[in-house]
Subunit: 467 residues, 2 copies
């Protein structure tokens, strides 16, 4: 029997108490309970608020101690100075897991620091594990557990799990969980890392069978640095790990220290070198971070570096090629037979096959035929390892039944097909949603599509060399 990791009780509690639950939708605390109800959390929910009788149709309790049943997880969202008393109640109630949502602890000066230390030692003495303080988490799409200040509409499940050091993701949480079409398994925000830190979180997700890709946002390492790097190394041999490290500059590191109370140890260069050894993929911006996670979730790695490009404008094709070269790809030279297969959609003059100018072809042949023939030919071509294609600016062209099917051909053949579009109107957004639902990623530009494909390839190369 495998021993369960202690974090499992945080992600899969059978009962959750929310201390500081609010009835007022203008108060952020409202959504701590509101999201659990709206999303249909599979466990029991106990709102705690001494000034309310009921919240969202559920009985409200004056204190954790008043709850009749045992409680697996207590989420505390009361002001910092009241938190120690709540924790004492948790001790009495024999709670084993708490999330401290509130801020004003080690990130809020000497007094906050002292309060955090007092709480830490109380919890340690009593064997209680804690996420935070200054943290909003966890989220688990498998049981619809979601602790957040912002209203969520749905959690699209999938294979990506996130570790965040801070609420970097909060302003885009709803977007991330629905409009971005990423399949997310779990999310943990570590906050001040008073107890649980990046080492614990990575350890748990490394062995989590529902997590296929791990994306980690870090401002500092609070756990055992050597152990963390070893863990990154071991983990990335099993599944892709993407890391976004912020607080890289001196000023950034100082700011990181003041908002989560964690000072980065060692310079960014040292951290960089550590990461390089560990086989993780490093992102420089939050866009890259999310783009890469989506790529690992959706794409099978290209077996080689030969890429075929199809674009709506020749100029975009040229930009795309520049980016391919920069990312270590070469331009695929299509098989001889591919030319024949493409014949029926070519313009009445000579035109190169790579990059392929779909925009010229559609001036002479029906839109859907052009896309279909191009995708069939390139996905079927033995000299092509990956296909990158721009969508036209008009989504209604693909509204007919099955019109999007050719884009799915890569899925069947395990050859990565990556799309880009400057989606702006509703019909394009509908097409993007349909495609991403089926696991074909659509990026906002050719550059981002190619960069995302390239990290999947780089991960494969690193892994091959390692094994």
């Amino acid at each position: 029997v495998t021993k369960q990791h202690f974090l499992d009780s945080f992600f899969n509690p059978e009962s959750v108490a929310i201390v500081g639950a609010s009835r007022n939708p203008l108060n952020f605390n409202f959504y701590l309970v509101g999201n659990l109800v709206k999303l249909g959390f599979s466990g029991r929910i106990y709102p705690v608020n001494p000034n309310a009788d009921e919240i969202l149709g559920m009985k409200a309790y004056a204190s954790v101690k008043d709850i009749e049943d045992g409680i697996d997880l207590v989420v505390s969202a009361v002001p910092a100075r009241m938190t120690l008393d709540i924790m004492k109640e948790c001790v009495d109630k024999k709670v084993k897991c708490v999330v401290l949502v509130s801020g004003g602890f080690s990130e809020g000066g000497a007094q906050g620091d002292k309060m955090q230390d007092e709480i830490a030692s109380l919890l340690k003495r009593n064997g209680i594990r804690a996420i935070g303080p200054n943290a909003l988490s966890p989220i688990n799409s498998l049981n619809n557990l979601a602790i957040s200040f912002f209203p969520l509409e749905k959690l699209i499940g999938g294979g990506v799990s996130f570790i965040f050091q801070s609420g970097l993701y909060e302003p885009r949480l709803k977007w991330l969980f629905s409009d971005y079409h990423l399949g997310i398994s779990k999310l943990i925000d570590l906050g001040n890392k008073m107890d649980i830190n990046e080492v614990d979180a990575l350890e748990y997700l490394a062995d989590d069978p529902d997590t296929k890709v791990i994306a980690i946002h870090l401002e500092s390492v609070k756990g055992d640095g050597r152990r963390f790097v070893q863990l990154l190394k071991n983990t990335s041999e099993k599944k892709p790990v993407v890391v976004l490290k912020s607080g890289r500059t001196a000023a950034g590191a100082k700011a990181a220290a003041s908002h989560t109370g964690s000072m980065a140890r060692g310079s960014d260069a040292v951290f960089d070198a550590m990461l390089k050894q560990s086989g993780v993929i490093r992102a420089q911006t939050i866009e890259d971070f999310l783009d890469f996670a989506k790529a690992f979730e959706f794409l099978s790695p290209p077996t080689g570096n030969r890429i075929a490009i199809g674009s709506m404008s020749g100029g975009e094709g040229v930009l795309a090629i520049d980016m391919c070269q920069r990312e270590g790809f070469t331009m695929a030279k299509a098989e001889y037979t591919t030319f024949d297969r493409l014949k029926s959609i070519l313009p009445p003059w000579e035109t190169p096959l790579n990059p392929f100018d779909l925009g010229v072809c559609v001036q002479f042949h029906p839109f859907l035929d052009v896309y279909k023939k191009f995708l069939e030919s390139m996905v079927g071509d033995k000299n092509v390892d990956g296909v990158v294609v721009g969508l036209p600016p008009i989504g209604i062209l693909f509204e007919s039944e099955g019109a999007h099917k050719p884009f799915l051909l890569g899925k069947e053949k395990k050859k990565p097909v990556v799309l880009w579009t400057h989606a702006v109107d509703e019909s394009l957004n509908a097409l993007v949603e349909k495609l991403e639902w089926e696991g074909v990623p659509v990026y906002p530009s050719a550059e981002r599509a190619i960069k995302a494909l390239s990290v999947v390839y780089k991960y494969k190369l690193m892994h091959e060399r390692a094994s």
Copy 2:
């Protein structure tokens, strides 16, 4: 009296004939006339199509020669092999300006090359100037002239003018002219540059009083290279010039050659060095290219490099600082009095003023108060040269009358205020539209906001040093 530049007749014709006009909205040629009608082009329109009596309610002519009046500009969109005959008719009709829309010339192999040469020599002998072939242009928002294959809804006028080498912009044309909220004066797509090239276009826009910012996409230089660089240098002393050069890698340059028939001369490194001397701002991606154009259109340059950051999450603040440092900015140290001014919106614990964590403050104080006080304080602070602020993920908070006003404070004081948001819902898009309508740019991430602000500052520094 200043002599008019010959390109003025292309941008401001009193009459335009469209040869190859179509009645069928599924044919791209339909929009060549359709856009002029829909947008309300101020001049006279003459559709030419021997198989139609009328098009969009206007009389259709069998030939250019049949048009009763004189014609300033002929747009030819018939197949390549028919184009020479159309040009002969233009000679007879004493037309002085033509746009050759069709492809299949020098970019389409030896036969196309020969056709293009024949046309070039005919036009030259008769003093006719030509844009293209393989080009969709011009566009001028002042008179609603727009030659494009895609339906346009409106042209938002303003100070940015574009030179494109190819239809790179075409897939995002509608978006660029409406949803991107950039004020655009003129756009010219040069295509194969049989006659008119980048030197002519830059020469014209350099002296165009309606053009405040010039954005140039290049794959190759076809005109006199030395003259072009001198012109870039002289122009960028008067107004900002942003350059996106694609076809940078060997494969990219080859692809550029095959889609517009222009081979780049000299290596990219040589071109790079040339550009560096010329004082232009160089963009590496199409996103940067458009971001930078918007920045120059909207922002007054910061007088120094001290930036204040306000974000909805501490983590975003840290990322923003990293980016500030990378771009040569420093973190502003607010005046002593600013702390007092911010007092009423602070959380009940110590918190740094830069980056300022708006997300913590709004947990304790009303949203609009927090944003208003922060913006008033930072825009009014003598130690702050520029302000970069993240919007919250909920646009409805700003729906009340005048709620967006604090964001406009920078405009009054000529201190740049740049915003970012991950706009996804309708209410946020409405806020972004309102703000950008008033000239406050909103970028999709802190990184892009800061990068855009930095080029405005870099341009100012270059200019100061030069003068």
